[in-house]
């Protein structure tokens, strides 16, 4: 869905993506009790990112909790920008999550090297049957992704697991859209190499 900017002459050029979360965000700004639909919509996505990044279900829960508490507390300061960039609520939310993860890393001396099995112990995959069928492949893919440098892994998870666009990932990571595409290309090249070994 799209909407046009108010400036008459520039309206056609200023067509910006419509943030599908706008009605819910506006409602939550008026009444903080109305934040729940946004929480329910994004809790699994934020938790997934946190679990891939921390490799620890307990830490992932901490990240998820802090992310949503911060988002609720500072929701009044969120302003959607309509100048061509996809400055949407979810980009803002993932940016908060990324900051929370960065802060957590600063306090962690060593990142746990958890295999997929331990991640699955406390977390519930969305599609358990499919995961069971592909458990071996999933384990190899998980290992290959976990070996990636932080920025490549993060870009890959945001693209494949959270299904954000390259532009959205760029906004979250503070990079250009093109740089994110190259990052994902390099990440996939590394994963392909690891899987071939």
């Amino acid at each position: 869905m799209f909407w046009k900017g108010r400036d008459g002459a520039d309206a056609a050029a200023a067509i910006v993506p419509f943030d599908t979360d706008r009605p819910a965000v506006e409602a939550a700004k008026r009444d903080p009790d109305a934040f729940e639909p946004l929480y329910r919509k994004y809790v699994a996505q934020i938790y997934s990112l946190a679990l891939y990044e921390t490799r620890d279900p307990h830490a992932a829960e901490d990240v998820t909790e802090q992310t949503f508490l911060r988002a609720l507390a500072s929701l009044s300061s969120f302003h959607e920008q309509g100048h061509g960039d996809e400055s949407t609520f979810r980009v803002w939310l993932f940016t908060i999550a990324r900051n929370v993860i960065s802060n957590l890393r600063r306090t962690q001396r060593r990142r746990p090297d958890a295999p997929l099995e331990s991640a699955l112990e406390l977390a519930a995959p969305d599609d358990p049957a499919a995961t069971a069928e592909n458990r071996v492949e999933a384990q190899r893919a998980w290992d290959a992704v976990m070996e990636l440098p932080d920025d490549r892994r993060q870009a890959l998870v945001l693209r494949f697991i959270d299904e954000l666009s390259a532009r959205e990932i760029g906004d979250i990571m503070g990079r250009s859209e093109g740089a994110v595409r190259v990052l994902i290309h390099r990440a996939l090249t590394s994963v392909r190499r690891s899987l071939a070994e």
Binding site: D31, P32, D33, F35, E36, Y39, R40, V43, A44, Y47, S48, L51, A60, E61, T64, E65, F68, L69, L72, A73, L116, A119, L120, L122, A123, A124, P125, D126, D127, A130, T131, N134, E137, A138, A141, W142, V145, L156, R159, F160, I161, E163, S165, A166, G178, R181, V182, I184, H185, L188, T189, V191, R192, L195
Partner: protein, 141 residues
């Protein structure tokens, strides 16, 4: 756009189509062997990497916590204006205002009473002094 950028752009188009549910097969048009296998790797990751959902207990506990925080935030919202009888907060404000107004009225009555008494007392004193002065002068001279 460099060759790497172009390759990355093409790959991203494949990924986008795959995420949208379009059928993306390795070995598409204009793809060399290396890019074919990258598309295949992308499809594999998309198929096998699990998406996680938090524990039900955690999700509900956090929902409750957010609810209490939201309630606390809601209590700090400014008092709506204009004041209406439908709002509890507005009733509180009106009660305080009514009490304040009664005190003002009472204070006003006292003030106006005092302002009436002072001239009356002044006039009585003047009349008393006049009567005394006329009586005295008659007695002495």
């Amino acid at each position: 756009m460099s060759a790497t950028d172009e390759t990355a752009f093409d790959l991203d188009i494949h990924i986008e189509r795959m995420l949208r549910g379009d059928d993306v097969r390795a070995g598409g048009e204009g793809q060399d062997g290396g890019e074919d296998s990258l598309v295949a790797t992308a499809r594999l990751l998309h198929a096998v990497l699990p998406r996680f959902h938090p524990r039900f207990g955690f999700e509900e506990a956090l929902a409750g916590k957010l609810g209490s925080r939201a309630h606390a935030l809601d209590d700090r919202q400014p008092i709506p204006f204009p004041v209406t009888a439908a709002s509890e907060r507005a009733d509180d404000v009106r009660r305080v205002w009514d009490r304040y107004r009664r005190e003002l009225v009472a204070g006003g009555a006292i003030a106006s009473g005092v302002s009436i008494v002072i001239p009356l007392a002044g006039a009585a004193i003047v009349r008393w002094r006049r009567s005394r002065s006329s009586g005295t002068s008659g007695g002495l001279f």
